[in-house]
């Protein structure tokens, strides 16, 4: 499992393989991270944590779509102060990196949470910028290059751990946001968060999710997520984590070829928690078949002329 071909150095993190648990999936407890790591994940990302506890939205928070799901959890989280304990405990039992996903309502807020996470032992911090921004309700921080750059700068100044920015696909041109994040100091990017979506029930004639709108994830969004990674890699030499609809080794390889150095897996965990293992095995076979000595040998190959 810890074969050399599969292990990667990602923005300074050492991963035994290029699969990671995506943020928000079983992301609250050390025991869950431990189990996910045992299921083969090369790293885990926590549920997004803010400065204060949030209970999230009422149910329904999840609705099934064609080849995917739509969720609107409302960022339930215990707040960074409580979560600090979970990070510390996780560090004592995990052998793979733990990346703490943070969100905030201002650059200061982001920086404060990120610093606490880093101080507690987070191996890296991932910024979730797909939450609505207070001053401009409804619009995501991740949709404004200016706001994004401001936040990245402040967080970068507050921590000395790798800083990963998770981009939103709900933008006109994702490369503009990627550029803003990289120039502001991001060490890596995760592409992407969920697609804004809605589910309406014909019988009751109402939106199903308590929050009405939510984020679409799963296999159905893979072609869009893959395009986001491809677009960014086409223009920038930044390490990228592909995310969106990965559920088997072939998906993972597609993201690597598009220019990602690693992949995150979320929705596919519902049907199979061992998905990390099976993807890693599949990628390993693939590398062997292609005579590639390392994952990084295939990163971005789809961009060859």
């Amino acid at each position: 499992m810890e074969s050399n071909a599969l292990s990667i150095d990602f923005a300074g993190l050492n991963l035994p393989n290029p699969t990671m648990l995506a943020s928000g999936i079983m992301g609250y407890s050390a025991e869950s991270f431990h189990r996910i790591a045992k299921s083969g994940a090369g790293a885990v990302v926590t549920k997004s944590v803010g400065s204060q506890p949030r209970t999230g939205y009422a149910n329904p928070t999840v609705v099934q779509a064609e080849s995917g799901i739509i969720n609107a959890m409302g960022l339930p989280n215990p707040g960074i102060d409580v979560f600090t304990e979970e990070i510390k405990f996780s560090k004592t039992i995990l052998r793979v990196p733990i990346i703490v996903s943070v969100f905030g309502y201002s650059a200061e807020d982001y920086a404060a949470v990120a610093k606490k996470a880093a101080d507690a032992g987070a191996d890296a911090v991932e910024l979730n910028v797909s939450c609505p921004h207070v001053k401009q309700t409804g619009a995501e921080i991740g949709q404004s290059p200016k706001l994004l750059a401001e936040i990245v700068q402040q967080v970068k100044a507050a921590i000395n751990k790798p800083l990963i920015v998770k981009l939103s696909p709900n933008v006109t041109d994702i490369t503009v946001l990627a550029q803003a994040a990289v120039e502001a100091g991001a060490d890596a990017l995760t592409a992407v968060n969920t697609l804004r979506a809605i589910a309406i029930d014909a019988e009751t004639q109402m939106p199903i999710l308590a929050n009405k709108k939510g984020g679409l994830s799963g296999a159905c969004m893979k072609p869009v997520a893959l395009r986001c990674v491809y677009d960014i890699a086409d223009q920038y030499e930044v390490p990228i984590i592909g995310c969106g609809g990965v559920s088997n080794w072939r998906d993972a390889v597609e993201f690597l070829l598009a220019g990602a150095s690693a992949v995150q897996i979320g929705t596919a965990v519902a049907d199979d928690i061992e998905v990390f293992q099976s993807i890693t095995k599949g990628v390993e076979n693939y590398l062997r078949k292609k005579n590639a000595r390392s994952v990084k040998d295939i990163v971005g190959l789809a961009h060859r002329k």
Binding site: M26, Y28, E31, R35, R54, P60, N71, P76
Partner: protein, 272 residues
């Protein structure tokens, strides 16, 4: 093999066909649903009360393709549900989760409150397959003892013990009390438990001390119901996906949390 959870996750709307009052605080709601009609005892569904909430409920019966859930009014969602009449529209996802294993030989079922519901479903399935079926049921007061008649129709009277806290029916004690001596006196090949977590914990202590096999159904806060969101985690397990039924080995692994703490709406651990 069970269906993949996402295969049963499509929300269906259906109409209540019947509502039956079981006790002053408990009602049974009946509706048709193709997917849930294949559910096994122990599995649960997510019931959407449109505009209000969506909550996990154990499946109590599936006979003739009619799905029954037995619900206690404890808060906003369950109270709204109690106000619904036949014809009202509800939404259903599921069935989700694992189910009780099918034991043979001498079997004991221990139910507290609405925890009796899935055990009644199980009892019906096991009735013809076991050598002896014993049922221990507890409630606060006589009027809250659920399915007394139904259980009486399945188990022999001598194999039924009921307890109430106020002594209005059966023994005046907690359901756990008569259990210790019962377990010492009789041999059981399997003990199935469903009820408040403190009760489950006590009974697990009793079975552990005697090295008896047990399967207990747990309840945790549920949102997705399909093993993603992490709301229902206990130890390394997701109650919605790896449970809700857990065996002795698994319960042992979660003893730091069982009856002690759970994950609250904000993801923090809250004590019971």
């Amino acid at each position: 093999m069970l269906d993949l959870p996402t295969a049963n996750n499509q929300l269906r709307t259906t109409q209540l066909v019947q509502v039956r009052t079981e006790s002053p605080t408990v009602k049974t709601f009946m509706f048709t649903d193709r997917l849930c009609s294949k559910a096994k005892p122990g599995q649960f569904l997510m019931l959407w009360i449109p505009g209000i909430d969506e909550i996990p409920l154990s499946i109590m019966d599936t006979s003739n393709g009619v799905i029954s859930v037995t619900v206690k009014a404890v808060g906003d969602a369950t109270r709204h549900l109690h106000n619904l009449a036949p014809g009202a529209t509800v939404g259903v996802r599921g069935p989700f989760g694992n189910s009780f294993t099918e034991s043979r030989g001498r079997v004991l079922l221990v139910g507290g409150g609405t925890g009796t519901a899935p055990l009644l479903f199980l009892a019906k399935q096991l009735a013809s397959k076991t050598d002896r079926l014993s049922f221990v049921e507890g409630a606060k007061t006589a009027s809250e003892l659920l399915f007394v008649k139904e259980v009486g129709g399945i188990c022999q009277e001598k194999n039924i013990i009921t307890t109430t806290e106020d002594g209005t029916a059966g023994l005046q004690c907690l359901v756990t009390q008569p259990l210790a001596s019962l377990l010492d006196k009789e041999k059981f090949d399997m003990i199935y438990v469903c009820g408040p977590e403190i009760m489950v914990k006590r009974i697990f202590e009793l079975t552990e001390a005697r090295k008896l096999p047990i399967e207990a159904s747990l309840e945790r806060l549920m949102r997705c119901g399909i093993g993603l969101c992490g709301s229902c985690v206990i130890g390394k397990y997701r109650v919605c996906r790896d449970g809700p039924v857990f065996n002795a080995a698994q319960l042992r692994e979660m003893k730091d949390e069982l009856g002690i703490s759970k994950i609250g709406f904000d993801g923090s651990r809250i004590p019971f």
